[in-house]
Amino acid sequence: MTAATVEHQKLTMAQAINRALRDAMAEDPTVLMFGEDVGPLGGVFRITDGLTQEFGEDRCFDTPLAEAGIMGFAVGLAMNGMRPVVEMQFDAFAYPAFEQVVSHVAKMRNRTRGRLGLPIVIRIPYAGGIGGVEHHCDSSEAYYVHTPGLQVLAPSTPSDAYSLLREAIASPDPVVFLEPKKLYWATDEVALGRGQEPGIGRAVVRREGTDATLIAYGPSVPIALDAAEAAAREGRSLQVVDVRSLVPFDDETVFAAVRSTGRAVVVAESTGFASVASEIAARVSESCFHSLAAPVRRVTGFDIPFPPPKLEHFQLPSVDRILDTVDDLQWEDS
């Protein structure tokens, strides 16, 4: 497919994910979509809207209400030739499936010395910013990235949501696909078809800048971009890297970016202790040591349970908090 023939559509992230599912299901009859309320209702976020109607009850369907069961069922389907895509209704409701994910989904290829891979996609609407009550706003990526055998993706734009989900469904390995709930209604020109965006394992520089590098993913990318915009107005040039693929991690792009500026702030909504942000800070500190003019700093969620709706803004990385942190990066001229 050449660039000239690529079809573009203006879509919200929710629509882009829906479209990715439709396109994948149309192309490959082994792709199945199931979970709680994803059938006739089309999912509580309407991500699977119309799929049952279009592909029938056998291809997109509701299951009994049991996440471990859903995940284990997916394992069996994948063992027997299918490419299941499951929806965990909200982040915290994936926890009942944790044993299935860690002890089976992540390990089957390894356990069988490569004989049995599991092409499963686990879609998880995740993180906060939508005023959700408790258990509806967890950023659970650290649990998954720490588990060897899972690819973990966190798109920040509708285009990435579309293209990364297409890659995820095509992947021979299990993928945890983290959909930032608060970005479901963000819009973008989305290039349809496969291979239009960098694939799994690739970070991208979303904004060029020379003074410091902001490293973010998923729901935090727009905040990082806003912070860079605000900084620019104050005369400071911030580069923004969107990690996109948490596992595999794109060291090359991230390290090159940080080396180019000599300063880095990692921005992530998840609680900070032993998180993806910790990993990024640790590996950047280690590999870019001699390029760093200041310690790598982190702007993350605090180490507290996700707050109730009226207090959640204290937990989410904000432009001000990012700029405060950037100000702290030991600028000789300040």
């Binding site: 509701d62 049991a66 409701f93 926890y95 507290i304 937990q315």
Partner: protein
């Protein structure tokens, strides 16, 4: 095997004592509860229905983030609280506002969760009401633990553990019932089968003859009851509580009821069920039926009803007023209650927030 297995199976039809038209019906060996208990239940139903309407209004006005309706299920919820004694415990879900209020918790504190001020707004230890459970069925093993602790101390506590039809599919339901049976814990597992788990109908949830048939697999007697019949509920749940208190172990009670409104205000029920189906259940309304019966036995007159309505109105008004007050919750609480003593790191993190607030203050 101490028990003949057959005794663990539920009756073929749900127990009903007052039919949808308000007439008393015979149900072998089950007595109609005393009229004063029925009247007290009715008062609770009137209050619950009014409070549900109030909550819906508060959602529309943006005072509540979300609200899972109890309309149609009031009889289940009110009676679940009514059959308990003070020392007993109630384990409610997000849907069970009416049960918690009937237990004596201030509705303002119950709605804190949905208002977004905090997670659990009430002190669980005062009325012995656990925080409302959102992760489905996870509260059920807690209920068993609370019951077992009481039993170890020789207390006569009974625990009423609520869950929905959808929740019965979760592994935690299974594990909780099994623990309760093995430890003979005094727990009444009370399933409000309202035919749907959000959009998913019961037939997609289970192929069992009934949910109550799940009891025998744990050695727990299963019972079915008309969930829109407060009299039957008082009888069946009352007996289950008495049995548990007497040391005869746990029981599983399935109430057949219906969620008359959408799952929450955010849900669109027309996508998965017909108006005709809803109307069918309209005719089985728990309030109407109990009112007709109570009037027929001269236990309720217009004046008494007016009194109930007025009290319900007052509670609703008080709730509305309280929820309309904008008292911003304190961000310090976020850091204060992670551990009994904040760690040095949490203190440093709180300082970041306090510093930001200070600067905002100055900036103004």
């Amino acid at each position: 095997m101490t028990r003949e297995p057959g005794h663990l199976l539920p009756s073929e039809d749900p127990v009903m004592l007052i039919d949808p038209s308000g007439r008393a019906v015979a149900s072998d060996g089950r007595e109609m509860p005393p009229t004063d208990a029925l009247l007290r239940a009715f008062e609770g139903l009137v209050s619950a229905r009014r409070l549900n309407d109030q909550a819906y209004a508060l959602v529309r006005q943006g005072r509540l983030a979300v609200y899972p309706s109890s309309h149609g299920q009031e009889a289940c919820q009110v009676v679940a609280a009514q059959v308990l004694e003070d020392g007993d415990w109630l384990f409610p879900t997000y849907r069970d506002t009416a049960a918690i209020v009937a237990r004596g918790v201030d509705p303002v504190e119950v709605l804190t969760l949905l208002q977004g001020d905090w997670h659990s707004g009430y002190d669980p230890t005062i009325h012995h009401v656990a925080p409302q459970a959102t992760p489905l069925a996870t509260q059920l093993p807690h209920a068993v633990g609370v019951a077992h602790a009481a039993r170890l101390r020789g207390e006569s506590t009974v625990v009423m553990a609520l869950c929905g039809d959808g929740g019965t599919s979760e592994g935690d339901f299974h594990e909780a019932l099994n623990f309760a049976a093995v430890f003979r814990a005094p727990v009444v597992f009370f399933v409000q089968n309202n035919e749907y788990a959000i959009s998913v109908p019961l037939a997609r949830q289970t192929a069992a003859p009934s949910i109550a048939h799940k009891g025998i697999g744990y050695g727990i007697p299963g019972e079915r009851v008309d969930g829109n019949d407060a009299a039957a509920l008082l009888q069946v749940l009352g007996a289950a509580v008495a049995r548990a208190r007497a040391g005869e172990g746990p029981q599983l009670v399935e109430a057949h009821t219906y969620r008359m409104q959408a799952h929450t205000n955010a849900d669109d029920a027309t996508r998965y069920r017909s108006q005709a189906e809803v109307q069918e259940w309209e005719a089985k309304d728990p309030l109407t039926r109990l009112e007709v019966y109570l009037r027929s036995v001269d236990a309720l007159d217009d004046a008494t009803l007016a009194g109930f309505t007025e009290a319900a109105e007052e509670l609703a008004q008080r709730t509305r007023v309280a929820l309309n007050q904008d008292v911003a919750p304190n961000p310090e609480d976020l850091f204060r209650h992670v551990f009994a003593e904040p760690t040095p790191q949490l203190r440093a993190q709180l300082d970041i927030v306090l510093d930001e607030l200070d600067r905002e203050e100055v900036g103004r």
